[in-house]
Symmetry: C2
Subunit: 143 residues, 2 copies
DNA sequence: CTTGACCTTATAGTAGCTACAGGGTTTGCA
DNA sequence: TGCAAACCCTGTAGCTACTATAAGGTCAAG
C-alpha cells in the first residue's frame, strides 16, 4: 500500500509517517519504480505501535527504546520496560500537580475581578502590577 | 544597571531577557557608549510583570496583550483581561483532565507487569504489541 | 492530452527558551 | 604596561513533535 492508504488506515498524516521514518522510528520501506513508498502489514503494525505509545504521551525517544526491545533476546529481564512506563507515570503525575497548583493560583487571581468594571479598577491588573512592583499577590501568596 | 544585574535581580537569564526584547515584550533599553544595554527600575518591573505571568503559565502572546492594556484608556472595560485569564484557566483545566486520563491509562498498562520476569513474558510489551495488531488493550479499553 | 489526485524532497515554521561561536569591553592586579 | 577574568554583543542553531508550504514527478480516468 502507498503512504496515503497507510495514513488513512492509521489516522496518521502522511507527513508524520515520513517524519517517523526520518527519525528512525519506522524502517524505510521498499520503493516502487517511481520512488513511491510501498508498505506491508508489518509497517502498519509498527506504526500502530508508535501511535499507541504516543497516545499515552510517551516521547519518541522512549518509543524508540520500547520498540528496540523486540530486537533484544527474549530472555532478558523486562525491568527497563517498566522503568520507562514508571518514568512516564511520574512525569505525568508531576505535570498534573504543577497544573493543579496553577489552576488554584489562576482562580485566586480571577477572583480579584468581579466584572464588569474599568481597566483602572480591575483587580486582576492591579494584582499583576502590584506583584511586578514587589508586593504580595493573591496568586502566589503563601497563606 | 546592566543586563547581568537585571538577570540576577529577577532570576531570569540574560539570554531570556534579550529574547523578550526581540519578541517585543520588553522595550529596547538605552545603550552605553560601548553598546551595553542599560536598564532602569521600570524595566525591572516590566520584566517582573512578564515573569509573574509566565509563572502562571500564560503564553507570551497573551502577556503581550495583558501588558498592552496599560497603554489603553483606563476607562475601558476590563472584560478582555478577564477573558484572557478565563481562557488560561480553561486551558489548564483541560490539560489536567487529559493528563489524569493519561495517568489512569498508564497505570492500567503498568499493572499488566508484575516484574521481575523476561521480555518474552512481559505483560506490558504483550499489551502494546497486541494493541498494535488491533486487539483491545488494557489502557484504552472502554469498559 | 489534459486534469486531478497522488507521490517525492527540501525547507521553514510552531513555543519558549537555551546554548553555543566568535567577537568586543571593562576591571583589577602584578 | 600587560594580561586575564568577567562582563557584554550579535547571530545562529538546537530542543519536541509535528505541520505546512514550495516546487516538482507520476499515474489513472475521461
Ligand atoms: Zn476586572
Ligand atoms: Zn502571583
Ligand atoms: Zn514486565
Ligand atoms: Zn491502549
Amino acid at each position: 500500500m502507498q503512504i496515503g492508504e497507510l495514513a488513512k488506515r492509521t489516522g496518521c498524516e502522511s507527513e508524520t509517517i515520513r517524519y517517523y521514518e526520518r527519525e528512525g522510528l519506522l524502517p524505510a520501506p521498499a520503493r516502487s519504480s517511481s520512488g513511491y513508498r510501498r508498505y506491508e502489514q508489518p509497517h502498519l503494525e509498527q506504526l500502530a505501535f508508535i501511535l499507541h505509545c504516543r497516545s499515552l504521551g510517551m516521547p519518541l525517544a522512549d518509543i524508540r527504546l520500547l520498540a528496540g526491545f523486540h530486537q533484544q533476546p527474549a530472555a532478558e529481564p523486562c525491568d527497563r520496560v517498566n522503568a520507562l512506563i514508571d518514568q512516564q507515570i511520574s512525569r505525568v503525575h508531576s505535570q498534573i500537580e504543577a497544573l493543579q497548583k496553577l489552576e488554584i493560583q489562576l482562580q485566586q487571581l480571577r477572583a480579584r475581578c468581579d466584572s464588569p468594571h474599568t481597566l483602572a479598577d480591575c483587580g486582576i491588573l492591579k494584582t499583576l502590577d502590584g506583584a511586578a512592583a514587589g508586593e504580595a499577590c493573591a496568586c502566589h501568596d503563601e497563606s
